[in-house]
């Protein structure tokens, strides 16, 4: 009995080592934050639209086809960098994109879109950031992929890069 107790520290250590190896091997990105809304329905919200006279009502807009939702603002530099990819989603993939304008100025946004091109089919205004909170947004830009049933299937935090563009394209083909 006495001798057996001395093996305990060794065993514990092996256990902890295995845990650490497992942690290393699984491809984790510690700075990547999860989305709690994955596989859940799109949050319900209403907002004024930047470009249309009618209000934007979420229940009417989602649940019909695949949609991309892109949170953006004119004052956000990464949003500027990713804008070409957002346009490519619209022009190449013919996918409907809703741009949620976050804490921005109406006039500035309209000018920005006129200058750079508008890929959005509609632009609900999120003046105080409440809509973003409903979507669990940390900061902009963030892009969500919604399937035809109105379920959030994928979220990307930060600007869309070439890698993410390809990834989202693959996902679009896979989901319905």
């Amino acid at each position: 009995m006495k001798k057996q107790i001395f093996i305990v520290p060794f065993l514990f250590f092996i256990l902890i080592l295995l845990a650490f190896f497992y942690l290393l091997m699984t491809e984790r990105n510690p700075s990547e934050l999860p989305s709690n809304l994955l596989n859940k329905n799109v949050p319900k919200f209403e907002a004024n639209s930047l470009i249309k006279n009618d209000k934007f009502i979420s229940s009417e807009e989602f649940g019909n086809e695949i949609v991309l939702v892109n949170f953006f603002a004119t004052w956000c530099k990464p949003c500027l960098e990713e804008h070409s990819y957002i346009k490519r989603f619209s022009s190449e993939k013919k996918i409907r994109i809703i741009g949620i304008n976050y804490k921005d100025n109406k006039k500035t946004t309209i000018n920005w879109l006129n200058k750079l091109g508008n890929p959005y089919s509609d632009i609900p205004i999120d003046k105080d950031g409440r809509i973003a909170i409903e979507w669990g947004v940390y900061g902009i830009p963030e892009t969500f992929l919604i399937n035809s049933k109105g379920v959030i299937k994928y979220k990307h935090i930060g600007p869309v890069t070439e890698k993410i563009y390809k990834k989202i394209n693959i996902l679009i083909e896979k989901i319905e």
Partner: protein, 134 residues
């Protein structure tokens, strides 16, 4: 040289006005001190997602400010603490809670320290028993 200095200070001030807010601001504070205390306590338990090691109570980040205001509005609307926490975890996940919730996946976390203490006491008892033998 002077022009450069003024330019830099100008950029600095404009940046300040544009992006930064500095944790709980006087205009956020609720009139009712009890409600304000509740708001502070809840905020201290909510992680600032875009900071390192800060609760939204301490943080300057814009998201932190938005969440602080949201919590105060919900308190004013009569929501209790549980409901407010649920609202936040529904959208941001359990990660946003600094004090881990007492759920199935945190059972081990909360019970193990107790287990360690029991093992510790057991070791001391074992020793005590042996020493009484002398």
């Amino acid at each position: 040289m002077i022009i450069k200095k003024i330019f830099i200070i100008f950029i600095f001030i404009s940046q300040l006005l544009l992006s930064n807010s500095y944790s709980v601001e006087p205009d956020e504070i609720l009139q009712n001190p009890k409600q304000e205390l509740r708001a502070r306590n809840i905020s201290k338990n909510i992680r600032c997602m875009v900071c390192q090691n800060q609760s939204i109570d301490e943080s300057d980040a814009p998201l932190a400010k938005d969440l602080r205001i949201l919590i105060r509005n919900q308190i004013k609307d009569g929501k209790n603490d549980q409901e407010i926490y649920k609202f936040l975890t529904d959208r941001y996940g359990d990660f946003i809670l600094l004090k881990p919730a007492f759920k199935l996946n945190t059972l081990v976390l909360w019970l193990l320290p107790l287990f360690f203490v029991v093992v510790g006491i057991f070791i001391i008892f074992l020793h005590n028993k042996k020493s009484k033998k002398i």
